[in-house]
């Protein structure tokens, strides 16, 4: 019942915070959010699962509960963790606590509602990563939309309404497409499945798959179509070029903590879902579509990086660079080797931490300068050395500096992709790797313009040191990033252990 406890604490906490007075809301929410964080850390130490959750592995903290009987299909409350989802859950809980801490300064209106929503998001995110019944999973998946919509819409920047609705509708349409495709698949499987439990479906897919023709389409084509539809559905969430345009708008308008969660966790939902569904249930299609997907990944990396290069708004830069980083993840997944998929999963966590750190740093800068434009500031290091120090560290983490988590993630992805089976894998990898040069280009450019050089600020504010509760979360993240960089096997082992069954068609 641990997972239920996590979710319950967050949900109840959300309600409590929602009715709490604005003054205390922030501190209250932070205190509450520490509980799931602590619990999840304990779960991390007590983790005893092995294998992949979908391919009859031993789950940790598993629990079932009959819920709904829909015709001949049963829907049950079914949650559990394996080596892939546990690190993501831990990352989520930690990131949420830190995000709450980092919003003490910028959020100065309707606090109780704000923090309530953040806790509500946390509950759903935990659910997304731990649910193993399709409907349960989909509820959490969709329920994330409302709070994020409001976070962007209410506390966002000047153009927030457009950004919020764009995010809301765009991602929801994608979910609908994906949902339809998956349900069609379930019916296509016929009597092989009698519930929406993902393990059952995955099992049916891996051993046998769709046998008879559906909608008058022959099984092969049908499965391929489903694969494509689901890939597109998730591609929006990831996001993959060319479905990425909601991301920069959402990021730029969103308040700092929302950006942290958006980049840190929400994007991972997409890649996580890709791994759980497309790359676990469709081994054959993965091989069939390897080259086009790899091409998409490379395009995302390079194109995203190029876009970041063209930006002058710090948040836009980081936003586009997220597109680029997600491209790496896709590349790792499509590599379909232990290092590739494992590295991709590792990169999900790593990028979650690093992008969180970056957005926090940008947020801190914005708090004191009230601008995010590269043109309007310079020499901030002169006034806020510590915050800038962390920003620089984070930037180098983003560039994949060794001994920081980003390097392990990217290197393993590259290594895994280089030896992938599909045609020209080394070439694709080499192309994608050029991203590490461009990323250095735009980040160093931004650093040079903003934090170095003679101190100067266009806006009429004077920069002082950032308060502790702004800097503390960044320190924590930096510590985690370095920890994972020096000792990646902390999570990499359990990840690879959970990844193996995917690659070996079900057996460990």
């Amino acid at each position: 019942m641990m997972i239920e406890a996590l979710i319950a604490v967050a949900l109840i906490g959300a309600l409590v915070t929602f009715v709490a007075p604005n003054r205390v809301a922030g501190k209250l929410a932070f205190a509450i959010s520490l509980v799931p964080a602590a619990l999840s850390l304990w779960m991390f130490t007590a983790f005893d699962g092995s294998g992949n959750a979908l391919l009859d592995g031993d789950l940790a903290f598993e629990s079932h509960l009959e819920w709904i009987q829909l015709g001949e299909y049963s829907i049950e409350w079914f949650v559990g963790l394996d080596g892939i989802s546990l690190p993501l859950v831990v990352m989520t809980t930690i990131l949420c606590s830190l995000a709450i801490l980092s919003s003490w300064t910028p959020i100065d209106s309707r606090e109780s509602q704000f923090y309530g929503l953040v806790l509500f998001i946390e509950a759903n995110l935990i659910g997304v990563f731990s649910a193993l019944d399709f409907f349960v999973w989909f509820i959490f998946w969709e329920a994330v939309l409302i709070p994020m919509y409001l976070l962007i819409g209410v506390w966002g920047g000047p153009d927030r309404k457009y950004a919020a609705i764009k995010f809301f509708v765009y991602t929801n349409v994608a979910s609908l497409v994906m949902f339809g495709a998956f349900i069609a698949l379930v019916f296509g499987l016929g009597d092989a499945v009698t519930s929406f439990a993902m393990p059952e479906i995955a099992d049916a897919m891996v051993n046998g798959g769709v046998q008879s023709s559906v909608f008058g389409i022959d099984p092969g084509t049908f499965t391929a179509l489903v694969f494509i539809a689901m890939f597109l559905g998730f591609a929006v969430k990831v996001p993959v070029v060319p479905f990425h345009t909601w991301l920069p708008d959402a990021h730029v308008q969103a308040p700092t903590p929302a950006s942290v969660l958006l980049a840190g966790v929400l994007l991972k939902m997409g890649t996580y879902a890709l791994l759980r569904f497309n790359f676990t249930m469709f081994p054959e299609q993965v091989e069939t579509f390897a080259v086009p997907i790899a091409a998409i990944a490379v395009i995302s990396v390079i194109y995203g990086a190029m876009l970041a290069l063209a930006q002058t708004d710090l948040k836009r830069i980081v936003a586009y660079s997220s597109v680029s980083s997600m491209g790496y993840v896709i590349l790792g997944l499509i590599a379909y080797t232990q290092f590739g998929v494992g590295g991709a999963t590792f990169q999900m966590v790593s990028h979650g931490l690093i992008s969180g750190l970056m957005f926090m740093s940008v947020g801190v800068i914005y708090n004191v300068t009230h601008t995010r434009s590269v043109e309007e500031m310079s020499g901030l290091a002169d006034r806020m050395p510590i915050a800038v120090g962390i920003l620089v560290a984070g930037a180098f983490g983003y560039m994949g500096l060794p001994l920081m988590s980003g390097f392990h993630g990217e290197f393993t992805i590259f290594f895994g992709a280089f030896q992938a089976d599909f045609a020209y894998a080394p070439l694709f990898t080499a192309l994608a790797m050029f991203g590490i040069v461009i990323v250095a280009g735009y980040l160093l450019f931004a650093l040079q313009r903003t934090v170095f050089g003679p101190y100067h600020l266009e806006t009429d504010y004077d920069v002082g040191r950032a308060p502790l509760h702004d800097v503390a979360p960044m320190f924590v993240l930096l510590a985690l990033i370095i920890a994972l960089g020096v000792a990646p096997e902390l999570i990499f082992d359990m990840i690879t252990n959970a990844v193996d069954p995917i690659l070996n068609g079900g057996d460990l």
Binding site: V169, P242, M306, G379, D382, P402, Q419, Q448, T496
Partner: protein, 681 residues
Amino acid sequence: MVGTGAGPFSYAPAIALFPLAAFVISLVFGRQLPKKGAIPGIFATAASLLFSLWMFATVAGGETYHETLYEWSAGAVTTEVGAEEIAFSFGLLIDPLSALMLVIVSLVAFLVHVFSLGYMNDEGETGLPRYYASLGLFTFSMLAFVYADNLLMAFMFFELVGLCSYLLIGFWFRTKSAPSAAKKAFLVTRFGDYFFLIGVVAIASTFGTVAFAGEESFVVAAETAIEDGTTLFGFDAQTWVTITGLLVLGGVIGKSAQFPLHTWLPDAMEGPTTVSALIHAATMVAAGVYLVARMFGYYALSPTALSIIAFVGGFTALFAATMGVVKDDIKQVLAYSTISQYGYMMLGMGVGGYVAGVFHLMNHAFFKALLFLGSGAVIVLMHHEQDMWKMGGLKDKAPITYYTFLAGALALAGIVPFSGFWSKDEVLFDALIVGLEEPVILAAYAMGLLAVFFTGFYTFRMVFLTFHGEPRTETAEDPHGVGWSIKAPLVVLGLLAALVGFVNLAPIAKVAGMDITFLEYWLDGEYGYVEGLTYHHYHEMVAFEEGYIGSETTTMLLSAGLSLGLALAGAFAAHTLYNVPEPKRHTTKLGGAYTVLRNNYYQDEYQVWLAEGLTLPLARTADLFDRSVIDGAVDGVSGASLFGSSWVKRIQTGLVTNYAALIVAGFIALLLGLGLYGGWF
């Protein structure tokens, strides 16, 4: 004779960890500490030096060390040569080469720390903790790189030293130029590292190992692959080795500032002079060449790669030397000479002159550190004035600085018997004998030889302009004094620059038939050695023929005399032109050539154009495309549906009779449609 963890070697990790500790201490407590963190740095480097010497001694005692300390990632792979497993780890490899390099690095680092006391602390400089922390981090990374036992670990610390270089070049971040120079340095080297990383990934996924030494090293794997004629990634083994080798070479060219990625080094002089001495002369820049030496066995398998290395080296040597001739800033001259000198090392390596390359690497580390520190001293004397035309006549005001600097200059110019002569001569000799068989190498040799003249010239131009003649400014009249902390390192290095050459007197050895080529024996495993990493082994592997003019000895004397003569010629030219009370800017006489040299052959221009003239507009176009086309499509969909909506709702006219009509019409439509479908009529 590979030793186990027991014995002195079990303390080896400490060599790198001392500076790391210093880094943490200075970073956290730097503000409170006296001297702002210099003390921990000095002690740490001193300790590292002692331990390095201890290791050196132990290796001399015939032991070596190859141990995996910490495995941070492992997993299943499908490699070309069939290995199923791979483990990425941190491990130490202490053989003659790395032991020697450890000593060099820790020694220079120590001296630079001491020098910094005088150079940085006296000026009321802010941000010293940051400075010493970065120095500590750099020393840590560099030492770790030096005794890394596998390619990936090497790459990781290769990157880290890049970071430190970035931080230290940008130390005076409040200026506009320093941050930009730092950015440039990191970007250019990063561009090289991009190829390096591909190389690492390729090698790892080809052979399933990244180890430098031992039976399961990728070098051995490559050898066997070539023997078995395996096909790797669709190429025959030989070609693939060449490709991967060249990919790794990308990193080398970046770090060791070889053409065409040399442009960052002169700009890097924006950093404190001490940094230039440590990082951009003695150690980090050496990392590239050291890497070639470290995996020389791999390059030895591919003549193509070797000759490319040689040619790049030779070309860079000449290319940079010519640019050094026209510089007025003392540090700029040294910067270009550095590039040029590393060209020599590459040349040496490229022609299979493993010993020669390492020899020159060592000598250069000392005399170039000396020269930079000396120039640092001069800059202190001159109240941070770097233009040589504003100096002059410092000879009598600062004798110690002068004579040490002179020693360095003689070594750099390659005048007998100073260290530079011996190593440079050996490099050229190796190049010549191979060149007599390989035309490409001969061209490289020619360029290297020509460069000797320019070296002699710009070196003494620098010396004369700085120290000789009449003082040309008031500051030159009464210079600011320098303390012991500046003088001591100069003296130490001065002695080394003068004497260290005697460890490998190859020519004399040949002539007199004495066994005094100690360095060669050292690298050849006369003392301790690791299987497969010895000079002999390399020498057998290298596929180059060697030819002689007459006998070997005559050839050698010939080349030695040639290079020495050219060096002296250069020095003499400088003497006649600049060793006068009131020197003139003769360089302007070069006319068009002058402007070209002055602008460094427009290397920066085209690289800046690549970045800002090509990439940036491209990015802007992409951005435009993104906002207009892709995002436009998204907004277009919503716009279209809203337009549709505004159209659909118009049916609701508000006239109830219209409703009735529409209902009937709709009903009839349904009726007809279904009637036809059902075949009623």
